[in-house]
Symmetry: C2
Subunit: 415 residues, 2 copies
């Protein structure tokens, strides 16, 4: 066993023990500790800034882009936002202990299905240090022990944040940060299904792919958002322009931003020039199918690859479709099953779209940008799952729990 | 690409298309097809018996044990039970379309969380041909397309069953049987996460381990049942004898059979001779810890390995514990988180046990044998999951579904 392996396995054993302690805490006890965590973060502003300065200096030396450096950067405002976020999680309803179902069998045994913590969760993430606090705190609130493995760029900041969280009275090893940032540590975590019940990779596609191919335990994946908006023949066209604009330009570097606009052929000649003008006024580059180019000759010809692209930029592909069927088939084939929208005044057509599109979020007359735990009212979000098992779409606290069957009887035996 | 790879990937594409068709069927349409499947099985008794005879002959030639041959064997009674099972699934409530949650946000968007099929499910199983019908039919009822990969011993029977199910009017490729039984086919299925949303291996630990290490998509695992029964100091000892006997001997080769008996020290001298006499009368071999041997000198000394053994046989390990804490710690450490029981008249102690034992099923004064989808009233069971994600414990139809968020608005944008 290498040192890395030995250390991480030891952390796994400790996490398991911590999970048993955490599962026995009441909501009040957990909330008090959460508020103490927020307090510890506020008290340690100087340490956090000093640690972050080390990361920033190393990042500049490594030649990180200014966008990367900005992601990495902590200032008093961001640290206060982190602390306020923790306080807010303390106010959320605790799903642990909820009775999901309860019934009695003819033989008198009483069955209860109760929400319980998952147990131990590994979080593997990249540059942003605030993930350390976000992820750890949501897992703590739901009674899970976490093992965090952040990126090398943020290692000093991550250590300082974990140290602050660790002095708030949580059970020992409830939140552990892996001291290594070698790639080996990802492989070791992915292999230790005895000690980790779940891994959540938060980061780029490469990281997720690596974890998926190595992991022996369940992985909740947050893959691309290749989101579509379909303007159906019966759409309110002014609304369709607004929704397209908001979905594409409100924030274009996120997974719930619009990537492909589908327009029903019979309204395209009237609609496309209007939406194109609005999009171009916001600096959006348009890439169209052949029929789109017939109406918008200045658009760039879209290639087959465009239909499967998550641009995360001010770029939009546009395709004309002949029917609802064609729109649905395009979305199910090229999309990433994240969030897709229909704009129409025809309720029956909208209902067919919602039923037939195989995506986590299917919207009628709503911007793609509402695919978000906060906008759903979850109060907190650990991510947007593109998986279909356990958690699909925006993940809140509920999705960080499992359940257990508690059965009470008076001596029943099977005959 | 090998022929096996090409064929299985083609089946995957077909399964995805079938899943979209299946998701649009009403419960009535699915139930009519299920009844037609039962009819087709009944109509094809001669073909099924002829195909099964080929498997049995090959099995005898290969020198399969009589237990293996019995698992493989179909007769008119077993075929009728298969058909009746399908008819029964048609009568169960369809979870697809259920509204799990619904709420409105202050901005007026209405969010519904709706049960939908998972999509496409791969089932990899070993000798028993009736799994072909069982698994396919439960997946079909919940609107999922299946790709089945059975063991080589049952290939003729499996083909005949799949052919019968296939002539009942289901959408094309809703149920597909892989024509290969090579090990390569398991690897190919495990790698095609584009076409399979879930894999369920049904069989021995070796098979599950293989799938777990290869699979890129979620796997629902049905690992061992190392089940415990803890006789607490406050137990009704007669009840404890009955529950021990039933849990161990009602059927000993199954995952919900008892493997380890824990007895609180202070009652051991009185209780152990009684329970030992009852167990030995049923032919159960007893293996005890050192303190047990002090009371039952004829028991075999248990080794460290015994505490982690799933005997699946008339063997029981017995350990004395000093306290509830010790019992819980032993179960959480050595058990398989499947099903564990406390026998006691002390409600408060029982509640602590139920809360602190980290298992899918925790029982108070009930035989382990009730950890079963049928006994829970699910009407059907696809297995007993030892996972904590998505499905834990007995899995019925609900656990073969996912969900989707359907959101309706009137032009809401984010600002």
């Amino acid at each position: 066993m290498s040192t890395i392996q030995e250390t991480i396995h030891q952390m796994g054993r400790q996490a398991r023990a911590a999970a048993y302690a955490l599962a026995q805490l009441s909501s009040d006890e957990k909330n008090a500790i959460l508020r103490a965590m927020a307090g510890a973060v506020r008290k340690r502003v100087p340490e956090l800034l000093a640690a972050n300065a080390l990361d920033l200096a190393a990042g500049r030396e490594k030649g990180l882009s200014s966008a990367m450096l900005d992601r990495l950067m902590l200032d008093e405002k961001r640290i206060e936002a982190m602390a306020a976020g923790i306080d807010q999680v303390a106010t959320l309803e605790d799903p642990v202990g909820q009775v999901l179902d309860a019934w009695e069998r003819p033989n008198g045994i009483r069955i209860e299905q109760i929400r319980v913590p998952i147990g131990t969760i590994g979080i593997i993430y990249e540059s942003r240090p605030n993930v350390t606090a976000d992820a750890a705190v949501l897992c703590f609130k739901t009674g899970n022990a976490t093992i965090l493995r952040g990126g090398s760029e943020a290692i000093h900041s991550n250590r300082a944040i974990a140290a602050a969280l660790g002095e708030a009275g949580a059970p020992d090893h409830a939140i552990q940060l892996i001291p290594f940032t070698d790639r080996e540590s990802v492989a070791v975590m992915s292999g230790m299904d005895r000690w980790l019940d779940l891994i959540i990779p938060r980061g780029g596609k490469g990281l997720i792919e690596t974890v998926v191919s190595l992991a022996r335990m369940p992985v909740i994946k947050h893959y691309d958002g290749i989101c579509h908006l379909f303007v159906e023949a019966g759409a309110d066209q002014e609304m369709a322009v607004d929704l397209t604009l908001n979905s594409k330009t409100h924030k274009c570097g996120v997974c719930n931003a619009l990537e492909t606009l589908l327009v029903q052929r019979e309204i395209a000649a009237g609609f496309l020039p209007k939406v194109a003008a609005a999009l171009r006024a916001k600096g959006v580059e348009l890439r169209g199918c052949a029929r789109t180019l017939g109406i918008l000759p200045d658009a760039i010809p879209a290639t087959e690859e465009d239909w499967g692209m998550e641009y995360l930029d001010l770029v939009l592909s546009i395709k004309l479709v002949d029917s609802l069927e064609e729109a649905v088939a395009h979305i199910n084939h090229y999309g990433s099953h994240h969030t897709d929208v229909i704009v129409t005044r025809d309720e029956a057509v909208a209902e067919r779209f919602l039923r037939e599109v195989d995506s986590a979020c299917v919207f009628h007359n709503v911007s793609t940008r509402f695919a978000d735990g906060g906008e759903f009212g979850f109060g907190a979000e650990i991510g947007i799952s593109t998986d279909k098992l356990h958690a699909r779409g925006p993940m809140g606290l509920r999705e960080l729990t499992s359940y257990q069957y508690r059965v009470r009887g008076n001596g029943q035996v099977r005959s």
